[in-house]
Symmetry: C2
Subunit: 324 residues, 2 copies
């Protein structure tokens, strides 16, 4: 069994081997750039760890793991255009460093590159891996569309929000786990439980992100704290605060939602204070724990030796207690 | 053997069966829209015709043929954003009718939908079809990048231009032919000749497009005549005119290239007149015929009964003599 750190080293080595020094430079240079920004690379690590639960030979999982990571980075490229985001991992986004057209076209070729990596899955698993990958990729686009649609709506329910983050974030973690399981030769029921483990970890992961955006430390989080509050993003915190708020608190919350031009620091601290008073932080933390427990239950059901599950359990804990 | 018209009827029926009435509407509605604009649908027709050369059962070619058409339409969606094109087939483009973000995201999910159709290729041909499809898709993005790069350059050679249109346009026709051949059970050497037939027809097809843009009839062509001239697009006509021009003619050509703000009709007629004087039209027509003859030579090499090649030959002739 490899540790998470050993797996991450392999992932980093394999990503470094991908060749983006090709012509035309304008097409491939931005891909090398975005992949060099060194995100957490959780998804390919999950694929290799899931594979490693069932076999010591993780080689068959490497190409699809990389495909999943390249696909994830492609979605960041296009999402950043749509969100007009200036920074990603503290560096200028591709559409800022180059331009929108470059970000569109380099993203398109990344999506194809992702499929080329997926296509290197050993032939006996190819059809199954390809199907789950395409289904997942479609769901991610649907999640992004719901996210865009929600900006125009004031009646988004908690259930709708959770379904949106399931599509936009969680399914790719599920796909990463399932792909690892399949290429590791897992039984279908174990692959299914690992898919659900990924889904539940993904949901908890996104709720943690929502919490960090408000309660995180700017230095470790790497993003400006309160960004979601400033753009009135309908996060789980805001939706639940609106659900719970009554009387004066509700008026205050509505006042700040309508106030987009005043002092940003004032808005952030006022809304954060309301989240605290209304118990929205607690509701969000409880929901996060709920999904975390579900993930652990999925992991426990897998028909392999308990000791082999330790690394994934440790990683799940780490993701929940992270500060960045 | 089915005729081209019979094949087109099948293509239209199969495209109509694709279901885009799904949620979220904002994601899928633009796809139904762009596919309803009814382009020529040459690519899926070529796939089915290529398959039909080797077998009466064209069923295995249908899903990949549709995948190729969906992919082609995805590239139009994204190219139209990059080119800021207001119209496509006489109707508002998706980024105009909706917005840029919609065109990006609906395009992304179309690319995945294309792969889902390709993935329905019978399993014994899947790996081969998937490889050629991804390689082709990558080349198309490279061609688009060169096209964008060429806008900033004044020293594009005829060879560079031909390589750009090979990537941007011809390889997908080659891929369409080869995919049909593979799913029809063709021998590798026949599949290869049909790929080259597609490449050569594609090159001739694009040169015909360049000619129609200057010498076409606005009513039948469906686009404004002289559009390439107005935006100084480095077409084969312009590159060859610049190659041949000397003295006063060269001065005149340079004058009009530098003149972007005067009367558009005046610029179009002056540059067209220069193309005529310089023999650029003839050079372009000769190159088109050169590729057409190469395509016919590829077709002749295929090891099947001569009569079976008649429909493809007729289609090639039709594409060369078209007015739209």
């Amino acid at each position: 069994m490899k540790t998470f750190d050993e797996i991450t080293t392999i992932v980093n080595q394999e990503i470094a081997k991908l060749n983006w020094s090709k012509e035309p430079r304008g097409l491939y240079e931005p891909i090398g750039y975005v992949l060099s920004l060194c995100g957490k690379r959780i998804r390919p690590a999950l694929t290799l760890m899931a594979c490693n639960l069932f076999t010591d030979d993780i080689q068959p999982a490497i190409a699809p793991a990389l495909g999943i990571e390249v696909f994830h980075n492609f979605t960041l490229l296009h999402d950043d255009i749509m969100d007009k985001a200036p920074l990603r991992r503290g560096k200028p986004t591709v559409h800022i460093k180059w331009n929108d057209n470059t970000a569109i076209l380099s993203g398109d070729v990344m999506q194809i590159a992702a499929y080329q990596l997926i296509a290197q899955t050993p032939e006996k698993y190819l059809k199954e891996v390809l199907t789950i990958f395409s289904d997942t990729a479609t769901e991610i686009c649907e999640g992004q569309q719901y996210d865009v649609d929600f900006e125009q709506r004031n009646d988004v329910t908690a259930e709708e929000y959770l379904e949106m983050i399931r599509l936009k974030t969680a399914v790719l973690l599920g796909c990463a786990m399932q792909t690892g399981a399949i290429t590791g030769g897992a039984k279908p029921e174990d692959a299914r439980e690992l898919y659900l483990f990924g889904i539940h970890i993904g949901l908890a992961f996104q709720l943690k992100d929502d919490l960090l955006d408000v309660y995180g430390n700017e230095l470790t989080f790497g993003k400006k704290i309160g960004g979601d509050i400033l753009c009135n993003k309908k996060t789980y915190l805001l939706i639940q605060a609106l659900n719970v708020a009554k009387g004066e608190n509700l008026e205050q919350l509505k006042y700040w939602l309508a106030n987009n031009s005043g002092n940003p620091e004032k808005k952030i601290s006022a809304v954060t204070e309301l989240y605290n008073i209304l118990g929205a932080k607690k509701i969000c933390e409880d929901k996060m724990s709920f999904f975390y427990e579900k993930a652990i239950a999925n992991l426990e059901k897998i028909s392999i030796d308990k000791n082999k599950k330790q690394e994934l359990r440790k990683l799940a804990e780490k993701l929940m207690s992270r500060n960045d």
